[in-house]
Each structure stands twice: as structure tokens, then as C-alpha cells.
Symmetry: C2
Subunit: 189 residues, 2 copies
């Protein structure tokens, strides 16, 4: 075993990059979140870790709704900006064109190719730096220009990802395989 021990590191590589939104004190606010993942197929649910000091988390708890917005790489600078500055000192309500869905209180970003409108199911303390927010996705939005055969297409979306510790953003490369399919060839080797 030639592996080096790095200690306890939050390194599920690579991580998604999302802009999570909520109304706080009557205005849309956003935070940049990579500590997030899908955790349930049906109903579709997400789990997110966020420091409770983040301004956006106030709105999530108050309204019990939030949005997850997936930015394109064209939006890299503004996405990073949202993560650098708190809504306590920087008004982020004018950064994006906002639209709303059935929950009314989850501000969504028109410029982002895909938007997930969520209801807060539960907030749990993990006894650490971040609280765990579990959300149910009540509606998914995508503009037609980012879809192929009726499905969101990360190539058209210009998706990008994040790695923590070296703190870099990466574009996606090319499709290299088909899930629930390529593994059928494995045993024949």
C-alpha cells in the first residue's frame, strides 16, 4: 500500500458548483455551495451542508424554501463573487434576473441553465461547522437551448466543477461512456 494518509478531508472529487438562493429580509440572496448532492430518487431530494452563519440560511429556515441554481462557466466570476462576500455586507439581489415558481419564496436565477426549486424537509445539526439541510425538489426548470432530446445537456449548459484544497474550477471534457451500459463489456475482457 503506497498510499499517503491526508487526515480527514472533505474530498469527494470533483464537486458540483451551485448558487443556492433564498429570500432574506424581503430580498433574494445567494450563496455558492459545493457541499451538496442528490440523496433520494423519488421524491427527488438533496442534502446540503451550510454554515448557519451564512445569511442565506436565515431565509431558508424562515420560508422553508430555497433554490439550487446551476451556473454555466460563463458565470464563473459572478459565481465565485457570490461565495466571497456575505449578504450581510453586499446586496446580491441585483446580480441576476430572478424568476419564481410555485413556492413563490424561492428566488431562481434566470441566467442559470438549470434551476431546482426546493422545499426544506429538515434541518439537522451535525455537531460540526455546518448544518445539514435536506430539501425536496418540487420543480426543475431548464431553457430549451440547454437541452438535447428534452433533457438538460451539460455540454450545452457549460457546466463546471470544483475541487477543494487546491481550490480550482474545471470545465467538463467530452462524453466518455454510457452509464448502466459500458459495464456490460467488463467481464468479456
Amino acid at each position: 500500500m503506497n498510499k499517503i494518509k491526508l487526515g480527514s478531508k472533505p474530498m469527494i472529487y470533483p464537486m458540483p458548483v451551485t448558487l443556492v438562493g433564498a429570500d432574506v429580509a424581503g430580498k433574494p440572496n445567494f450563496m455558492t455551495i459545493a457541499f451538496i448532492g442528490v440523496v433520494n430518487m423519488n421524491p427527488a431530494m438533496v442534502a446540503m451542508g451550510a454554515n448557519p452563519s451564512h445569511f442565506t440560511t436565515r431565509g431558508i429556515v424562515e420560508n422553508r424554501t430555497f433554490s439550487i441554481n446551476l451556473p454555466s462557466k460563463k458565470m464563473l466570476e459572478v459565481t465565485d463573487y457570490v461565495g466571497l462576500f456575505s449578504g450581510k455586507t453586499h446586496d446580491k439581489s441585483q446580480l441576476f434576473t430572478i424568476f419564481r415558481g410555485e413556492t413563490k419564496t424561492a428566488p431562481m436565477i434566470e441566467e442559470c441553465p438549470v434551476n431546482l426549486e426546493c422545499r426544506l424537509v429538515e434541518k439537522l445539526s451535525l455537531g460540526g461547522t455546518d448544518d445539514l439541510f435536506i430539501g425536496e425538489i418540487v420543480q426543475t426548470y431548464c431553457a430549451e437551448e440547454f437541452m438535447t432530446n428534452g433533457k438538460p445537456d451539460v455540454e450545452k449548459m457549460g457546466s463546471f466543477v470544483f475541487t477543494m484544497d487546491d481550490n480550482r474550477y474545471f470545465s467538463l471534457g467530452k462524453p466518455i461512456g454510457k452509464a448502466w451500459s459500458d459495464g456490460k463489456n467488463f467481464k468479456s475482457k
Copy 2:
């Protein structure tokens, strides 16, 4: 608003691709998991959604340990194979070289560039298809060949990602930005 409503979709794009391992009935078993994300910085924790019928989940509950192994794109076929077939009918204990850490009961895959050794903190029912597993990362392992300046490097790791619904795997592209940095340029425009 020119967006199309797609219904409730688990679409945090793109998703990581991981091989999650546990000892089941005395043998290492693995499942391919994309419903997973970091949810706490300190102590480092993950949240994972997995259908309780998966063979591997038995071992996670029994031993209260599991591993998260990050495959390289060279391992795409075997990674997809692991997701296609259940340990109930297919013995996956010989697919990889196994090593173990301090927990002893979390089988880790030597061939994967990065391994996260986890203790189960909590298992919650979400009232849906999947159960929520919250794990604390007790140790992280990486071979030197996959690191740059002492940190795991996704370019050397050959990381790849997944999109659900169109069920494709994608390689990563190039570094396109620096986190907690590029956003400082945003306002100057």
C-alpha cells in the same frame, strides 16, 4: 421566463462517480454511487442516498463503517459494472486489490486514486426510495502519483463525472479558474 418545467428531477449536474464499499457476509462488496456529497467541513462528513435493498448497505449498517473510493476514467467499465450487478448474485470481492485502514471493516480499493474511510454517523429514512447515510470521514488516502504539491489533483487522478437521465459519463476538461479569487474581478467590469 422561457424555461421549461421538467417536474421533480434529481439534477445537481454533474454528479461525482464513486465506488462505495463495505464488508457483507465476510467479503468486501461495492456499489456505484452518484447520490453523494460532502455536507460538513469539520469534522468532514458526507451524505449519501442509497436504496436499502442494495447489498452493500447491509454491511454499512452492520459494521457502521464504509469506504468511498474515487475511480479514474481508466476504471470506467468496472465502475459501471459494479453499478449494474448486485452483490447478491455477483461476487465483487475479487474485482479490486483491497486495503484497510484504522476501522478495519471498511474495504478500500487500491486502484482508486483517492479513498475516504468513513464511520456511519446516522442512517435516516427519507420516506422515499433511498435511505440517507451520513458518514464521518476518518481518514483520506491518496497515492503520491496523483498529487501535486501534496494535494490530490483531479487531472492526475483522471476523474470523471456522471449525468443522470441522459446517463452519460464525462471526463474533466482544463482548469478554468481559481476559487475564492476570481470573483474579486467581478465588480470591476
